[in-house]
């Protein structure tokens, strides 16, 4: 049996001023070392769920919460944001919301969380240097965080989460400010971290990327879990359009070839296998 590190059961949440529930029955488990993706239209509850995983819901965003969120065996109701942050780290959707606004340069910004956790100075310097190099921000350590470009702030935000060395990383559309190459760089790092055993929970709108990375995918709609399955199964399911999700273009290529009788196998969800299918269909 694989070890369960995140267990969410029938989670419901209504923001204090909210008219309806942002989450209305979400249940899932994530296994240790898994790459778990969450997809769904804007407003389906993805960001609220991310906030609930790290304790921002209900400690920072207050409201009416039902059901349970258990991280590494600890119910978030019996924990605190500070305690949780050593187990699970969130990279915000809007990196500007993640800055401490007290640090005078990037190095201090990165070290901010470490200070709160009482990490000794020598260790702090080591970790800042390591993370700065990893995120390719070692050339801007002296700069004021407020003078950076959107893409740079996103790298700093990612670094300041990762520096706490959580075993579970939650990424809420964490590359919206980056160009495609910059996003790929970040995802290569995430994939590397995942290979070293870190559990990744990722929210993203780029279905090609989700298809490439995910071990399993959960579809959210109007605050509810619709289904949880492998990328192959999710994207082969014609019903997903009902949830405002478009399968990767590779699926539509396979479908079109299948309809014409040039292909009879499974739908492909990544580029290289699709190219092979097309090449074979051409000589058939």
């Amino acid at each position: 049996m694989r070890e369960v590190v995140v267990k969410v059961e029938d989670l419901k949440f209504r923001y204090r001023e909210g008219k309806k529930r942002a989450l209305d029955g979400v249940s899932f488990e994530v296994f240790k070392g898994e790459f778990f993706c969450i997809i769904g239209a804007n407003g389906s509850g993805k960001s609220t769920l991310c906030n609930a995983l790290v304790g921002l819901v209900p400690y920072y965003f207050t409201g009416n919460k039902k059901g349970s969120v258990v991280i590494d065996g600890v119910d978030t109701d019996n924990s605190s944001i500070a305690e949780l942050s050593q187990k699970i780290g969130l990279v915000f959707q809007n990196p500007f919301n993640q800055l401490s606004y007290t640090a005078s340069n990037v190095a201090e910004e990165l070290a901010y969380g470490l200070g709160n956790h009482g990490v000794p100075r020598d260790e702090m310097i080591k970790r800042v240097e390591y993370v700065a190099k990893l995120m390719r921000i070692d050339h801007i350590l002296h700069k004021n965080p407020l003078e950076l470009s959107g893409g740079q702030v996103q790298r700093v935000a990612f670094g300041s989460t990762f520096i706490l060395e959580p075993n579970i990383l939650v990424l809420d559309e964490c590359t919206t400010q980056l160009d495609p190459l910059g996003s790929e760089e970040i995802f290569d790092i995430v994939k590397e971290l995942n290979k070293t055993g870190i559990t990744v929970i990722m929210v993203d709108h780029d279905m090609e990327r989700v298809a490439r990375c995910a071990d399993r995918i959960m579809v959210l709609d109007k605050g509810k879990t619709v289904c949880i399955d492998t990328p192959d199964a999710i994207f082969s399911n014609p019903d997903i359009v009902n949830y405002n999700i478009e399968a990767p273009d590779y699926v539509s290529i396979c479908k079109a070839l299948k309809e014409r009788g040039y292909y009879s196998g499974d739908y492909k969800i990544t580029e290289e296998p699709t190219v092979e299918v097309v090449k074979e269909a051409l000589v058939k």
Partner: protein, 269 residues
């Protein structure tokens, strides 16, 4: 409207040379997409179209008139720029006030403001949210709020800086409809985007920027067929196009219908 750039250069006060001699003509109502890596100079370029930035060398001509002849406030009646980060643009306490602000500044008559308000709030799907505080909107709704407040001023040219960032399927459809509607009204839309699927679906005129220069400028099919040049600018064609190219298709295709047509052509041979 005709926007003409003659060896346009821009060096920021920090010494960073963002534009290195750009020659370019944009005219008519065919929507234009500008693509390229972060730091290629896309935003710096478009900020010259209504004088938010002024050339440090070369010239910008709007309908033949030098950009330096007028202030940005004056130009913005003709050319509107929607900021990349909505928080840089939003500053009032309701969306209605955001929408009214620009038109009032340029002395638009009350009647016309009302008409525009109905049209724009419908177009941006913000009709039910006009009296909310912009900071109660989601990031993507905020983007539509900033888009709407520029369209409110009824400029002839509208520039969108990364409108697709963070949008879902529905948001992209909403944007598509905005671009199409503005084109039908005879406006010129110029859009910076990293989302290649969105670009090929909505724009036939594509400009690729790389290191402060224009690398490619032309019909989208023409542009996306030049794989090696695109690589220089770190731009990658959309998935369907890439699969077709790797499978050896000669024609550049952008959607599944074109893909299958080209597949059949090759099959017959």
């Amino acid at each position: 409207m005709r926007i003409e750039l003659i060896s346009l250069g821009h060096v920021y006060p920090t010494g960073d040379e963002a534009l290195k001699g750009v020659d370019l003509v944009i005219e008519g109502t065919e929507p234009v997409a500008i693509i390229g890596q972060n730091g290629a100079g896309k935003t710096t370029l478009v900020k010259h179209f209504n004088g938010i930035l002024r050339p440090t060398s070369g010239q910008v001509l709007i309908n033949g008139e030098d950009i330096n002849n007028r202030s940005t406030a004056q130009w913005s009646r003709d050319v509107g720029y929607v900021f990349q980060n909505p928080d840089d643009q939003i500053f009032l306490e309701t969306i209605r006030k955001e929408f009214e602000f620009g038109p009032k500044q340029i002395g638009m008559p009350e009647e016309k403001i009302k008409e525009q308000m109905d049209f724009v709030s419908e177009l941006c799907l913000l009709k039910d949210k006009l009296d909310l505080h912009p900071f109660d909107l989601t990031l993507t709704e905020k983007k539509f709020c900033t888009i709407g407040s520029i369209i409110m001023m009824d400029p002839k040219v509208i520039i969108f800086d990364e409108p697709t960032c963070g949008q879902d399927v529905e948001g992209n459809k909403r944007l598509k409809n905005i671009v199409k509607t503005l084109q039908d009204m005879g406006k010129l839309c110029i859009t910076i985007s990293h989302d290649m699927k969105f670009v090929v679906e909505n724009f036939r005129h594509v400009i690729v920027m790389c290191k402060g220069k224009v690398l490619l400028d032309g019909d989208s099919k023409e542009v996306f067929s030049q794989v090696d040049k695109l690589k220089q600018s770190f731009v990658s064609p959309p998935p369907i196009t890439r699969v077709a190219q790797k499978a050896g298709f000669k024609e550049t295709v952008f959607n599944i219908d074109e893909f299958m047509r080209e597949f059949d052509n090759r099959k017959e041979k």
